[in-house]
């Protein structure tokens, strides 16, 4: 078990290192990054001074060592727009995003698990068709359009939900719904198909044959095995939710890191963009690590490997 965890931990650190290499080169793919950071009307002397200040005139390898050394201390430089360190801006906005994606994830799981189970058990019958139809719609609905239509309905027409901002839980309802639609569809489909597969296996037939009640078979025997692939997909959905939050936050004027990133892009605030991408990656890698641990707890075969 310890061995397994250590391997996964080393792997996680390696991935974060890889992402930091990617982030470092990201702002350099277009050539000299000074041009990105400075407004187009900057004079040549200004550019030269800035290039020296940021170290862009140093050899790449020196720049990378500096970047990595500072990044390890959480230092991504000052935001070019706000007089604050870039990482601090991201961290300040993160709780809002966490709240939103947490609510969306909860909503997805609460809707998708019963729906997927019901569809699998009632396979080919009405409940299954309804489940598949709903998940097809959820998968095909453009998030941003759904968000606009929700505002039109709940705020403009009925006036029961606030159209924007952050505050009470009422502010979370629409953004979470818009954000959750896609993940709900994906989780439902996957749980349905893995349940169908598990329900056909020999040990379930045995359990049925010895006369166990249907409900314990489904919930205890089958779900436990179907949960493993589903957990993988839920973990992947966390990444999708954090990414999707960019759009949802923008539409609902919700002050999270997604909105911060959009603003940073329109302000050409590249230190913030760097901090944002790397921070997202660290969050996702940590979640994947936790999922690996959860696997090991769920499935003894993985522990022994």
């Amino acid at each position: 078990m310890l061995n397994f965890l250590l391997t996964r931990l080393v792997h996680a650190v390696a991935v974060v290192f890889g992402v930091s290499v990617a982030v470092f080169f990201l702002i350099r793919i277009g050539g000299d990054p000074s041009a990105l950071f400075l407004p187009p009307e900057a004079s040549l002397e200004e550019i030269a001074r800035f290039r020296h200040l940021m170290g862009f005139d140093q050899p790449l390898i020196v720049q990378f060592r500096q970047f990595l050394g500072r990044a390890l201390q959480g230092d991504f430089g000052q935001s070019l727009r706000y007089d604050q360190p870039a990482m601090q801006l991201v961290l300040e906005r993160f709780p809002a995003t966490l709240e939103l994606s947490g609510a969306a994830l909860l909503l997805s799981v609460v809707v998708a698990v019963p729906l997927g189970l019901l569809a699998a058990v009632q396979r080919g019958r009405l409940a299954d068709r309804v489940g598949l139809f709903l998940s097809l719609i959820g998968q095909s609905f453009p998030t941003f359009w759904l968000a606009i239509m929700l505002i039109l309905l709940f705020s403009e027409t009925w006036g029961i939900l606030p159209p924007s901002g952050r505050g009470g839980w009422l502010n979370l309802v629409m953004p979470a719904m818009a954000l959750a639609a896609y993940s709900t569809a994906i989780i439902t489909r996957l749980l349905r198909s893995s349940m169908i597969e598990v329900l056909q296996s020999d040990y379930i037939r045995t359990a049925r044959a010895k006369g166990l009640a249907p409900l314990p078979i489904i919930l205890v025997h089958a779900l436990r095995n179907a949960a493993i692939p589903t957990l993988t997909v839920i973990a992947l959905q966390v990444g999708a939710l954090l990414g999707g939050a960019v759009i949802t936050e923008e539409i609902f004027a919700y002050p999270g890191i997604g909105r911060l990133a959009i603003q940073a892009i329109s302000n050409r605030d590249f230190t913030v963009i760097q901090a944002f991408v790397l921070f997202m990656a660290v969050v996702i890698v940590s979640i994947n690590f936790l999922v690996d641990v959860a696997y090991a707890l769920l499935d003894p075969r993985i522990r022994r490997r």
Binding site: V15, G18, V19, P142, E156, A240, L242, I265, I284
Partner: protein, 283 residues
């Protein structure tokens, strides 16, 4: 022919195919079949509701805030969606399948490195990566295709690699190896033909995702430059008028939604027919 017959046995798949064909016709013939000039502004006829009679004919789906015909813009906008969606999938497939074949054939150093790169890629949410790259390179259609393509190759690489790892040990590949066949020929003639059904299945569903991504980025103003009408940017334009002119945002939304449903229906059917695991489940 037999495959088409089996494909069309599902009514939903037929519906999906019809939707996809309609959108494709709009994408190919765009300006030629649009009832009005999609860029012609007429401030006197702004925000006309659907079915209004304009000066130059009926506006079936109304007009937008600048008096442009919504239906014509929808038809022309189909081209960007389809072009970007399909081109991005081609880029993804080229990169992903190549990496997957190589990693599946040679899974020591090179294969491991390639799989490590897929892990790094998966740690960055797609939209985040796309936003950052478009911010650096600037928005243009080719940048968009490149970003979408390079951000979605991982799925191909993983699936193709997993299949090649199995195929590599089968007798026909081993026999070819013994005969001294070059690695390139093994990849191209022996492995690739055996992974085409997986590639088709992934591609079908990925086109739908790409179209959604493209419209999301265009909606945020980070997609195709504003001069070209796209469904995403039309929804963004219409967003400010939802309260009194819902059709400006709703019509492109429906177009997008129906297109994606159509592609997903076709993709699902392809998966049911081609993926050996799901055929097993069906019978």
């Amino acid at each position: 022919m037999q495959f088409l017959h089996r494909f069309l046995r599902s009514k939903l798949a037929l519906l999906g195919l019809i939707i996809v064909l309609v959108v494709l016709i709009a994408a190919v013939f765009g300006p030629a079949i649009a009832p009005h000039d999609p860029d012609a502004q007429d401030i006197m006829q702004r925000l006309l509701p659907p079915l209004s009679q304009g000066e130059e004919g009926r506006h079936w789906l109304g007009t937008d805030a600048l008096g442009r015909d919504v239906l014509s813009r929808l038809i022309v906008g189909a081209r960007v969606s389809m072009l970007v969606g399909v081109a991005a999938v081609v880029v993804s497939a080229l990169v992903g399948v190549t990496c997957g074949l190589v990693a599946g054939y040679e899974d020591r150093v090179l294969g491991r490195v390639l799989m490590a790169i897929t892990d790094v890629q998966l740690a960055i949410p797609f939209l985040v990566l796309a936003l950052a790259v478009v911010a650096v390179l600037g928005p243009s259609m080719w940048n968009l295709i490149l970003v979408l393509g390079l951000a979605n190759w991982v799925q191909y690489a993983r699936v193709v690699r997993a299949e090649c790892l199995v195929l590599r040990n089968l007798d026909f590949v081993q026999a070819a190896l013994t005969c001294g066949t070059t690695p390139f020929t093994i990849l191209w003639r022996h492995l690739l033909p055996n992974v085409t059904s997986s590639i088709t299945v992934i591609s079908g569903l990925l086109v739908a995702k790409m179209i959604l991504f493209e419209s999301s980025l265009s909606f945020l103003g980070l997609g195709v430059p504003a001069a070209i009408p796209t469904w995403g940017s039309m929804i963004a334009d219409g967003r400010n008028y939802v309260a009194n002119a819902w059709w400006v945002a709703a019509m492109p939304g429906w177009a997008l939604f129906l297109t994606v449903i159509g592609i997903n229906l076709v993709g699902d059917r392809l998966r049911d027919l081609l993926d050996p695991r799901s055929t097993q489940l069906e019978n």
